[in-house]
Amino acid sequence: MTVLPYVVAAWLFLIGLYGIVTSRNLIHLVTCLAVTQSSTYLLLLAIGYQEDATAPIFGDIPMDAEVVDPVVQAMTLTDGVVSVTVSALLLALAVQTHKRAGTLDPNALRALRG
């Protein structure tokens, strides 16, 4: 059994989290979150992968050809869109934070101000 794709997915998840925890800049933090989210794409696609199979698009291939799982591919598509929207929303928050606090360093944002 090949475990490498699963190991890489777990590694991407953890290294992204490490980046978030140690981040000194909110823009960097959003990018780290994108890395964390990309682990889910890899995990989904790895689950659907099948050796010697092709993409589930029957334009040019015979109907009985072996194809990889289309369900996880549709889920990965969804996942990517959600990832982009989350990043955009967080970047908008970062813009506002910089306007209010004058800094993007999360360590410098100590107290809540009204």
Binding site: P5, L14, L17, Y49, I57, D69, L77, T85, V86, K99
Partner: protein, 253 residues
């Protein structure tokens, strides 16, 4: 919390998550061997039942169409959130574009960027339209094509000016397009409810396999999603660009 303390908490948490990963992954199917029963069923049936050769599109917009509709509204509400967050605040005012550092002269866009940008606008829009229109046949679809279409509009900004970009894709028009397109998806679902008795039931002729006008309602939903995504991405870029060139704090002026 100090940096060291935070790192310690992270390492402890990461070890716990790793243990959960090992436990969870050991229950997964072996890599590259069996497809899921659901996936296998879809691959076998989608072409016959839906006349769509792209099974991923058939899964996204037909078999799991309700999930995709909800996901589309995640994008919709995120854009509303960003519009709210980045609107001009009480202590700011919108201003004609100019550089914040008075001594710095803005660099003019190079001629190469202008020429290639202008030349790419047409092909990009054409390619985006192709990706959307053939979403049910070949790789692509509303989400991918919508992003390509939005980048075609953004090339106007790259090749020209922010103001011509705003004239070409006015905010009000983009907001209306986004809302109408998002609700078109719901309307297609409701039409299926009326015609077929179930939400998102196909009510259009299936056509001949491989034709652009085939696969029932999938191309229609693809177009709706493409317009929604394109308008959403243009609005997003517009809002962020406005932050850079238009809004500044009153106390700095």
């Amino acid at each position: 919390m100090s940096r060291r303390g935070r790192l310690f908490v992270f390492v402890a948490g990461a070890l716990g998550i790793s243990a959960l990963f090992v436990w969870g992954f050991s229950g997964l199917p072996d890599f590259g061997v069996q497809p899921s029963v659901y996936g296998e069923q879809l691959s076998e049936r989608a072409v016959d039942e839906r006349h769509a050769t792209n099974v991923v599109a058939a899964t996204t917009f037909d078999y799991r169409g309700l999930d995709t509709m909800i996901e589309e509204f995640i994008l919709f509400s995120a854009v509303i959130g960003i519009l709210l967050l980045l609107r001009a605040q009480r202590d700011e005012e919108e201003d004609a574009p100019h550089d914040m550092a008075e001594s710095r002269r803005p660099l003019p866009t190079s001629d190469a960027v202008r020429v290639f940008g202008l030349g790419l606008i047409g092909p990009t829009i054409l390619f985006g339209t192709y990706v959307v229109a053939h979403g049910h046949l070949t790789p692509g679809g509303g989400f991918q094509g919508g992003v390509v279409l939005a980048s075609g509009l953004l090339l106007v900004y790259l090749a020209g000016e922010f103001l011509s970009f705003e004239r070409l894709a006015p905010e009000k028009l983009m907001e209306a397009t986004e809302a109408v397109a998002a609700w078109t998806y719901v309307a297609v679902g409701l039409a299926g409810l009326v015609a077929g008795g179930l939400f998102l039931t196909n009510f259009l002729p299936l056509g001949r396999i491989g034709d652009v006008f085939s696969a029932g309602m999938i191309p229609l939903i693809n177009v709706a999603v493409a317009l929604e995504v394109a308008a959403a991405f243009v609005l997003l870029s517009d809002e962020f660009l406005e932050q850079a060139v238009l809004v500044r704090k009153r106390d700095r002026s």
